[in-house]
């Protein structure tokens, strides 16, 4: 039988079974009774209760608390042993409230953010230095490394990324050609489409698009792998075995990405130029031979070298940023997801900033 609350003057009694489904209704009835009883006592007879659960026990505690707030003393009497025992087990105590997490003030939060950002930056520099050190040391001695890791990573980062890099580069080349063709055709300058595509792909779009794709694909994989290893204490296990995690985990990825990125970048540039060639052939009546000759003539060694230098620098940034976020992870599975997202955003941001920096150095 559901709980029934009967209130007569300064006393009340509850009958039946006081369980979760009754809590809201009975609490509302008590609330109405308490509202008209300031400064008095409400004696509640529990002898009619046949059953109670933790919901009912919490309700009785809540009524006591709310009564106290209205200066009404609520006293429970007549509970059978069973009901009294369950009330004892599930008692939340007077004024029980889940402890609140202390909320810092704005100034304190700014300070904490600034401190963490600075500490993170220093850690990033340290990791970068460690990665470079162990990368050069690894060329001299194989000690501390993992056999076959470089090949595995090169396949993962380079070969597996090839289809997506080539498809996107081809489309980027075609899009650039289509956009520029519409303008150049008006001036009879069709031939300059080849110049524009060749220069922009070699200097800019080839390395940049490859870097952005690898930041999303390989950077996230690096961050999530290292973050998972951190939260599952695999990194600690390596340290206690006397193995440097940077040497063991990061360096093979660094070698792989540093080798694969320029190669992918060259292929991306060639495929982008090919995308432009097809548009030029179909819409601008340029023959492939003329387009190719023009593209080759306009490209200088400097264009190719700057593209390659940039792609190696982007590779280093993507790898170290991914590893940095992986090592800094906090929390469990939730933290891994958060840090992976943050690493991709940071890597793409860093690549674009670095690209801007290189453009200033090489061309101004």
């Amino acid at each position: 039988m559901p709980a029934r609350l009967v209130i007569e003057g300064d006393s009340a009694h509850i009958e039946g079974s006081l369980t979760f489904p009754d809590v809201r209704r009975v609490l509302a009835e008590f609330e109405r009774a308490l509202a008209v009883r300031t400064g008095s006592t409400l004696e509640v007879d529990l002898s009619g209760l046949t059953r109670i659960d933790s919901g009912g026990a919490a309700l009785l505690d809540e009524v006591t608390e709310r009564g106290r707030g209205r200066n009404v003393r609520v006293a429970y009497t007549g509970a059978c042993d069973e009901v009294a025992e369950i009330r004892r087990i599930f008692s939340s105590g007077a004024g029980a409230r889940v402890a609140e997490r202390e909320r810092a003030g704005l100034l304190q939060r700014c300070g904490v953010w600034g401190y963490h950002t600075w500490a993170g930056f220093l850690e990033f520099l340290q990791l970068t230095a460690d990665t470079f050190y162990w990368s050069f040391a690894g060329l001299v001695s194989k000690r501390g490394g993992r056999k076959g890791a470089f090949v595995t990573q090169a396949l993962l980062i380079g070969v597996d990324a090839l289809p997506v890099v080539l498809t996107i580069s081809f489309l980027v080349g075609a899009i650039l050609a289509l956009q520029s063709a519409a303008q150049l055709r008006q001036f009879g300058a069709n031939i300059f489409v080849a110049d524009l595509i060749a220069v922009s792909m070699a200097r800019e779009m080839g390395p940049l698009m490859t870097a952005i794709i690898l930041a999303g694909r390989s950077g996230s994989a690096i961050a999530s792998e290292i973050a998972t290893m951190t939260v599952t204490e695999e990194i600690d296990a390596l340290k206690t075995m006397g193995i440097n995690p940077v040497r063991y985990i990061v360096v093979p990825k660094f070698y792989a990405i540093s080798l694969c990125m320029p190669l992918l970048s060259i292929l991306a540039t060639l495929v982008g130029i090919l995308g432009g060639l097809i548009v030029a052939f179909l819409y601008l009546d340029l023959t492939p031979a003329v387009y190719t000759r023009e593209a080759i003539e306009i490209l200088t060694a400097k264009d190719i070298v700057t593209g390659l230098v940039k792609s190696v620098a982007f590779a280093g940034l993507i790898c170290t940023i991914g590893a940095h976020y992986g090592f800094r992870v906090q929390g469990g599975a939730e933290g891994v997801g958060r840090t992976t997202t943050a690493s991709v955003v940071a890597a793409i941001f860093a690549v674009v900033v670095a690209d801007c920096f290189f453009s200033l150095i090489f061309y101004f």
């Binding site: 489904p21 809590v23 659960d53 919490a58 505690d61 087990i89 029980a96 889940v98 402890a99 609140e100």
Partner: protein, 249 residues
């Protein structure tokens, strides 16, 4: 005297993964108010059996009935009603890492009852108090130790005063005093709420304290089913050895 009605029934249950058989023809009745402890070597299928009993895994043959309902034939609303009366404590706690401890414990209360928030807060603190975690509600699971996470998960499993509790290694990672307290709590819940429990554990001391019956799994089958005192002289070598040696790894 008549035996209490079985609250959970496992009938001719067989299960496996990718063609590899893990359990074969398991039959088990769990009676209202009893504590059944499932034992066996690591990897013998204890957790698999538990997951089949709560409907997380589907058997290759056989059925599981909870409160008289075949959980693999039940539709979703029927299953939800069954699950409201079931509490599950997972081997690694399975707290939601993105939520605070008090939010984790409050999930079943918010989803399955219309209890006002003030009473939910009170209930959460009471349940955390039961498992000796008073005052930790504002922490994230990642800020708790392994043992504390396990206890917080137990508080969540107990949120709705379930009729039956399935617990996968509830004492793993706990110190002996906390284990003893947790055993006392389980006994108290059985005594006062009539809660039925199926517990997977290797802790010999716990088994002695809480088990009404044990089911010993070995080689895909239940090798022994009975009381602890019967187990010690049951004539099955591996079962007797377990109680002589202590615990399996």
């Amino acid at each position: 005297m008549d035996k209490p009605h079985p609250i959970a029934e496992v009938q001719s249950l067989s299960a496996g993964f990718g063609g590899r058989s893990v359990l074969e023809d398991i039959n088990l009745d769990i009676h209202e108010g009893e504590i059944l402890v499932v034992l066996g070597k690591s990897g013998c299928g204890k957790s698999t059996l538990l997951k089949h009993m709560v409907g997380l895994l589907k058997p290759s043959a056989g059925s599981v009935r909870l409160f008289g309902i075949d959980i693999f034939a039940a539709d979703e609303p029927e299953m939800v009603e069954v699950l409201k009366k079931v509490g599950v404590l997972f081997q690694y706690g399975a707290l939601l890492n993105s939520l605070y401890v008090h939010e984790n414990v409050a999930i079943p209360l918010e989803q399955h009852t219309d209890v006002p928030p003030s009473v939910i807060r009170r209930l959460v603190e009471a349940k955390l108090g039961l498992v000796r975690l008073t005052g930790t509600g504002h922490l994230l699971p990642s800020e708790l130790s392994g043992g504390m996470r396990k206890r917080a998960a137990l508080a969540r499993a107990l949120a709705l005063d379930p009729d039956i509790l399935f617990a996968d290694e509830p004492s793993a990672g706990l110190d002996p005093m906390t284990t003893a307290h947790q055993d006392d709590l389980l006994l108290e819940l059985r005594e006062d709420l009539g809660m039925t429990m199926v517990v997977v554990t290797h802790e010999l001391a716990s088994i002695h304290r809480i088990a009404d019956r044990i089911a010993f799994l070995e080689d895909k089958k239940i090798l022994f089913l009975g009381t602890v005192s019967d187990a010690k002289g049951c004539g099955v070598e591996i079962v007797e050895e377990f109680f002589r040696m202590g615990t399996f790894a």
